[in-house]
């Protein structure tokens, strides 16, 4: 049982990877002379995993259950994890996204104690009807907070407009109604199916060495049986459901998300594909691009504008978002520029500029242990390696870009979501 050392001459760092006999994948990225260490322990189970097969049985659970489980896992039979962390000084948190649930802490002292707490509580589910009931009020308020958040809603609305069947369009926390159906029994079922170490990963970055991590976790990890549960998703048509969706809020500044849906493959994207997409999007709409400058100089967008490649199990799209008083015009100009891009490709100058910018930013991220561990875990669940991604940027060619472009940014397959103030009357 040994760590594999993965090094990069380019960056001058190394990290270590191991498949532990318990089934858990462990990554350790030492950052010498740092004071703090950041650890993240997560499962490849998120809000989209509401229908799955387990031992020949099809199981459907309420929307929002992964997030609810995240809240409840903090409570063990012998007390609350936050109370335990209070004794080590670590700052702890957790989050649930579309495709994963992660528990994390950062600390400068008492690393061993904090890591023990993390490994213990994530492996010790304890749910009773009473404790489950207590969380309804807290999560209910979390949901209501997001219901009032127009920037959050505009995102889910675009997903609703793009996806017919895929659960990515359902709010991560579910609804007040859906969480009312969550019971201790259902939480235990999800736990049994997905909190299997073969389906999980532990990533640690900072002032730590791999052998030290191994010494601590060896005593704690309970070997898991074979991972048997797997999510099933209904077939998702290529086409978006609707091209436009709008909602009104008590807000003063309208905002939008414009999503270009693409064909989700049987696998998630490779590092080469991600690198190519990063460069395409940078040359298309970074603040150095022609289009961005045109839009901002004409008063159509402001510096809240951004974009992301939104991709996971069974879904893939490019999202452009920001505040605008004329999202229709922005959409029209973006589509026109994309058509031109498909026709003429990226200029040599834009290619070189984008490549350098993306490369520099990917190096800069490595200054922060939080970022490193977050990337390691999401890359692990997508079977990607961090340095492979950075090398892919350095080596990418214009030909790679042209090939990638063929499967992205279809102007005939996009949805615009807009949130607007109520009409005054």
């Amino acid at each position: 049982m040994e760590f594999t050392k993965i090094s990069s001459d380019r960056i001058g760092d190394s990290y270590y990877k191991m498949l532990h006999p318990s089934g858990l994948t462990i990554y350790v990225y030492p950052k010498k002379s740092y004071n703090s260490t950041y650890a993240i322990f997560g499962t490849n189970f998120g809000s989209i995993d509401t229908t799955f097969m387990y031992k020949g049985e099809k199981i459907v659970v309420p929307d929002g259950i992964a997030h609810y489980l995240e809240h409840k896992l903090f409570e063990s039979e012998d007390g609350d994890a936050f109370a335990k962390y209070a004794k080590t000084g670590a700052m702890a948190n957790a989050y649930t996204s579309f495709d994963k649930t992660c528990y994390l802490f950062s600390c400068s002292d008492n690393f061993e104690e904090s890591l023990n707490i993390l490994i213990d509580f994530v492996q010790s589910p304890y749910f009773t009807e009473k404790t489950v009931q207590k969380e309804q009020g807290i999560i209910g308020q979390e949901i209501k907070m997001y219901d009032d958040n127009a920037n959050w809603r505009v995102m889910f609305n675009v997903l609703t407009a793009m996806y017919h069947n895929h659960p990515v369009s359902v709010d991560i926390a579910g609804t007040v109604e859906s969480i009312a159906d969550i019971t201790a029994e259902k939480l235990y079922k999800c736990y049994e199916c997905f909190y299997n170490l073969n389906n999980m990963s532990l990533c640690i970055a900072g002032n730590i060495e791999p052998q030290e991590v191994l010494r601590i976790v060896d005593k704690k990890l309970k070997p898991s049986p074979k991972q048997e549960a797997y999510s099933i998703f209904e077939d998702e048509p290529y086409e978006v459901c609707q091209s436009y969706i709008e909602q009104n809020f008590d807000i003063a500044m309208p905002s939008f998300v414009l999503g270009f849906k693409e064909k989700a493959k049987q696998r998630v994207a490779t590092v080469e594909e991600i690198a190519a997409t990063d460069i395409i999007l940078y040359s298309l709409l970074s603040d150095a691009s022609d289009l961005y400058n045109k839009l901002i100089n004409e008063g159509l967008i402001n510096d809240s504008f951004g974009y992301e490649y939104f991709e996971g199990r069974g879904y893939a799209s490019v999202l452009f978002s920001g505040e605008s008083r004329n999202p229709e015009k922005v959409t029209e100009m973006i589509k026109l520029t994309i058509e031109n891009l498909h026709e003429n490709g990226i200029s040599d100058k834009d290619f070189e500029m984008s490549k350098r910018a993306i490369y520099g930013k990917s190096i800069e991220i490595l200054d922060n242990p939080d970022n490193i561990a977050d990337i390691l875990i999401s890359f692990d669940f997508s079977k990607r390696e961090l340095y492979d991604y950075i090398n892919a940027i350095a080596k990418i060619t214009k030909n790679d870009i042209e090939n990638r472009l063929k499967e992205q940014l279809d102007v005939n397959n996009c949805s615009l979501s807009v949130v607007k103030p109520f009409c005054e009357d």
């Binding site: 002379s33 209070a86 907070m145 809020f249 070189e352 500029m353 350098r356 350095a394």
Partner: protein, 427 residues
């Protein structure tokens, strides 16, 4: 540990270099401190935006951003920040160190430093006015930002509570100003604001990273000679008494209500024992094991968030929560109840130790981030002394339960702000 060198260049310019080899990036941060003034705050905010979007050499935003992209995605930014009753204009640049360039021998760091200097001292001005289209674009961005503040109900509620509580003090001034003020700004106004910044600002320049920035120091020294400062008095008014509690309720079409409570403590820099108050705040509502989190959220299930924050320059504290309208009263009562527990000394040793450990943990981590290190030092320039993270940790360790009780007893409720949904009218 990083090597920190702080030395004054002259009566208004101080240069701090934090030499740290562990980072792959490095940065230069120019903080200019000016009094917070109702008329000039929006001007300075628009100015920070305009300055960071072009310069003589790269006279439009795109040419500048293309240059930055070629410098491996370097970043240049301009913004303002309220610091006590003062305003700081922050102009900064950050990016990867030379040794990570794909093409060997590129001088990325030096180019960034020169760009930043050129933006601050050789901006894109003609005669005595900034470029009109730059000014109009950045005015509009600030106007959009003012509207966007209204979109975010949590942020908006805190802003409203601050405005109400400090209606008659400098601290109540918003750094963005009002929409009417922003609309009136002319390219000539900005030129005057720029001149004022260069001539009357107090400069704190911080460099962080492994690059050698002696040349940057010289550049700034050349541009910023010693000056008799006419109008730069930088202090903060601290009021510790409350005559009458303000109560304001706004109604909007929202599904969750917000409760923001503003308190005065009178404990502020440079004279007060702010370390004890920081710990007191942490025990009250600064962590996930604080009194507010454990009681208002975990015990009573009234909310998702209930937290407190302390401003050591103004000596004020805010408690924020998002609740059902019908739960505003129970939440308010429990917050006051927990505050009284603190005042009466109902604090366990575990709570104190936990708050100290959490402070130590957060403070140690400061040294692992370029941005946090910069803020750690520049946010202390109005404090009675500048502490390193290590020194601050020693001070927090020495605080006793009595110090905390004493601090807690200075906390007085001043303003209760609520934002409620429309259904309240029908009740």
């Amino acid at each position: 540990m990083s090597k920190i060198n702080r030395n004054p260049i002259n009566n208004r310019v101080t240069f701090t270099s934090i030499k740290e080899d562990k980072f792959k990036a490095n940065g230069i941060y120019v903080n200019v401190y000016l009094p917070l003034d109702k008329e000039t705050a929006p001007l300075n905010t628009v100015l920070a935006n305009v300055i960071s979007s072009s310069c003589k050499e790269y006279p439009n935003m795109q040419s500048l951003n293309r240059k930055l992209s070629m410098l491996y995605g370097a970043n240049i930014s301009g913004t303002t920040r309220k610091i006590g009753d003062n305003l700081s204009i922050i102009l900064s640049t950050q990016g990867i160190d030379d040794k990570y360039a794909i093409d060997e021998g590129e001088k990325i760091s030096k180019s960034r430093a020169e760009l930043l200097c050129s933006m601050i001292f050789n901006p894109n001005v003609e005669g005595s006015a900034f470029c009109k289209s730059d000014v109009e674009r950045e005015k509009r961005q600030v106007l959009d930002y003012i509207d966007a503040m209204y979109n975010d109900k949590r942020q908006y509620s805190l802003k409203r509570c601050t405005e109400i509580m400090f209606a008659n003090e400098q601290f109540g001034i918003n750094r963005l100003g009002t929409k009417e003020q922003v609309e009136k700004i002319t390219p000539e106004d900005l030129y005057v604001a720029w001149q004022n910044m260069i001539n009357n600002g107090i400069f704190e320049i911080v460099t962080i990273g492994s690059s050698d920035y002696d040349d940057v120091k010289e550049m700034f020294a050349r541009y910023l000679p010693e000056k008799q400062l006419i109008s730069t008095k930088l202090n903060t008014q601290v009021i510790s008494t409350v005559n009458k509690i303000n109560k304001v309720n706004d109604i909007q079409d929202v599904s969750q209500s917000k409760l923001v409570m503003g308190f005065r403590t009178g404990i502020a820099e440079p004279d007060g024992d702010t370390m004890a108050m920081r710990l007191t705040n942490s025990i009250l509502g600064g962590t996930a094991h604080s009194k507010l989190f454990l009681n208002v959220r975990e015990k009573l299930s009234l909310c998702y968030y209930c937290s407190s924050s302390y401003n050591r320059l103004k000596g004020c504290m805010f408690v924020e929560s998002g609740v059902e309208t019908k739960n505003i009263e129970p939440a308010y009562k429990e917050i006051m109840n927990q505050l009284n527990e603190l005042k009466n000394g109902n604090i366990t040793d575990e709570e104190i130790t936990a708050a100290k450990m959490s402070f130590i943990n957060a403070t140690n981590s400061i040294c692992d981030s370029i941005g946090n290190l910069e803020y750690w030092y520049t946010s202390q320039i109005f404090d009675h002394e500048i502490n390193s993270p290590e020194q601050a940790i020693e001070k927090i360790k020495a605080i006793s339960k009595e110090d905390i009780i004493k601090s807690a007893n200075t906390i007085k409720l001043d303003t209760i702000y609520t934002l409620t949904g429309k259904e309240k009218k029908e009740d």
